[in-house]
Amino acid sequence: MELLEILTVVIGVSILLVLSYYFFTSSREKSMQVITEEKEFNRLTNDITGFFYNRIPVIDKNLAQVLGDYLRWGENSNVFYGKYYGILNAKEIIEIYFNSTFENKWHLETSYNGEKFEFGFETPENMRLRTFIIKLPIPKSLTDGEVLDVKFTQW
């Protein structure tokens, strides 16, 4: 009888331990997932915020400006920035910027005047992709305020 009681206690405690372990690990996993997701979102949005705010030394232009100028005036990856600066390789500058955070795990694409522009690396299949649509104002004299959707994907 005593043995049966001890056995019941042991089984009961074991079940409770297993349940609590499962509960805590799954809950922790969920929390970790939220935290990880948050971390990735922050990494992505920090870079996109920097895309508007960070100015490239010497030429004193931000990347959104370089991308806009490239889409509107670029030829063979280059944009002409006047006699003082000459030609700037816009594509290279944009790629260096995103590579510094996402290495070779990003892709940026947009369309302007019916032409598709792509930067970065090929998007993999069977991987979780994070996509952010950046609203990019496009330069235009006597502007009509054109805003483009730039799709940024990271994995």
Binding site: N42, N46, F52, V147
Partner: protein, 408 residues
């Protein structure tokens, strides 16, 4: 006895076991709630952080839009030489008539605001829902002293006010003021303004044109375009405009980037009766080439009211120079209108006359250099006659700065 002792022992161990399980379950439930609240805190924190990130990116968008709008506005205002109802703004209207810093500031701010709001209106984000409302004011942070000392030669700050951003993400809803300052660098708008202003205030072009009116004395009576009525006055005017252009170009410290051109848009000469009893140049009020162009500025938003009234002249469109340059360089156009009349002053002798110098002078020289009509010297070296030559020119001076290209 032994059985009852064993039964009590078993009962007490069962009670202990039940108590343990009870404590364990209560702790578990408490922990469950704590963990859940911790998890929901994390989710809530993450949601708030997301809203703030969306806010930052939207602010980045508006800052970028303000930068592009400033470039477009600088290009447009420079092209108009400030602002006028139509055509190019006149900077010399017989005398220096250049716009003040505040006047240009007003139009630059207005134009930037207009362009900026077009970007804002086209901003459409549905997930999360982001509302962005229009700006009410854009102000350029420049002053008479910062412009004249060259502090704004390559950069100036703008401030944009009056907009809000509202981000709605699930049940969270955050509103924030969207007001900021932005440095507009590598735009030499105020540099060109400063040099043009220096030029308008120091050039001798109005006086030079006045000095050339005597040439019209030798032309037939009536009024017509200079090319038909008085080619000598047209040639003279073109020479003076070229001289003024060279002087303008010489004021730029970096000629490798700046190229200036000048075009004589209109030249009309007339020869009529002298009605004014004076012997110097005065304004020819009803001149046919067009008047001086300008537009009254309004009140600077969030700033002092513009002071210093300029002479009012009815705006008339200058026709002619409407060249549209499709490059991304800053092109500053400045209009010049000169309209003089004065009595014929015989200041020179005809080549083939024998009159003694400084005594006799000739009103009209013949084709062979002989004096066709003598005027009597009764006022020193001048002979004031009843004839009155009138001449008017309009010209556009343009300088293109190729140092930096604009984002337009």
């Amino acid at each position: 006895m032994l059985n009852s002792h064993n039964g009590r022992k078993a009962q007490s161990s069962l009670i202990v076991l039940m108590a343990m399980i009870g404590v364990f379950l209560i702790s578990l439930i408490l922990l469950f709630f704590r963990t859940e609240s911790f998890r929901s805190q994390i989710i809530k924190g993450s949601q708030i952080s997301r809203v703030s990130k969306y806010m930052d990116i939207t602010k980045g968008f508006t800052r970028q839009s303000s930068l592009l709008s400033s470039h477009a506005a600088a290009y447009d205002i420079a092209d108009k030489g400030g602002h006028s109802v139509e055509g190019t703004r006149t900077w010399i209207c017989n005398k220096p008539w250049d716009p003040s810093v505040d006047e240009v500031r007003f139009f630059l701010g207005q134009e930037t605001l207009e362009f900026l709001n077009r970007y804002v209106e086209n901003y459409d984000v549905k997930d999360p829902i982001i509302f962005l409302n229009n700006f009410t004011c854009v102000n350029c942070d420049v002053s008479e002293s910062t412009v004249t000392t060259g502090k704004n030669d390559e950069k100036f700050d703008i401030g944009a006010f009056g907009s809000d951003i509202k981000v709605i993400l699930k049940e969270d809803n955050v509103t924030s003021k969207n007001e900021f300052g932005n440095e507009i660098s590598r735009v030499r708008f105020w540099f060109l303004y400063r040099v043009f202003r220096q030029w308008a205030e120091t050039t001798t072009l109005p006086q030079d044109i006045c000095s050339g009116l005597g040439l019209i004395c030798g032309c037939p009576a009536g009024m017509n375009r200079c090319s038909a009525h008085c080619p000598s006055f047209q040639i003279y005017s073109e020479e003076q405009i070229e001289k003024a252009r060279q002087y303008l170009e010489s004021l730029f410290t970096d000629p490798e980037y700046i190229k200036c051109t000048a075009i004589l848009d209109c030249c009309v000469s007339a020869h009529g009766a002298n009605t004014d009893n004076i012997n110097s140049c005065i304004s020819w009020e009803d001149m046919p080439c067009g008047g001086c162009n300008r537009e009254e500025p309004g009140t600077l938003c969030g700033d002092s009211i513009l002071k210093g009234e300029k002479p009012k002249v009815e705006p008339i469109t200058i026709k002619g120079h409407t060249e549209q340059n499709n490059t991304r360089f800053l092109k500053f156009n400045v209009g010049v209108t000169i309209f003089w009349k004065r009595p014929c002053l015989c200041q020179s002798k005809c080549p083939n006359t024998n009159c003694p110098e400084d005594v006799d002078c000739c009103m009209r020289c013949g084709a062979n250099g002989e004096c066709e009509e003598q005027c009597v010297d009764d006022c020193g070296n001048y002979c004031v006659l009843s004839d009155e030559p009138r001449g008017t020119i309009t010209a556009t001076f343009t300088c293109i700065d190729k140092k930096y290209s604009l984002s337009i």
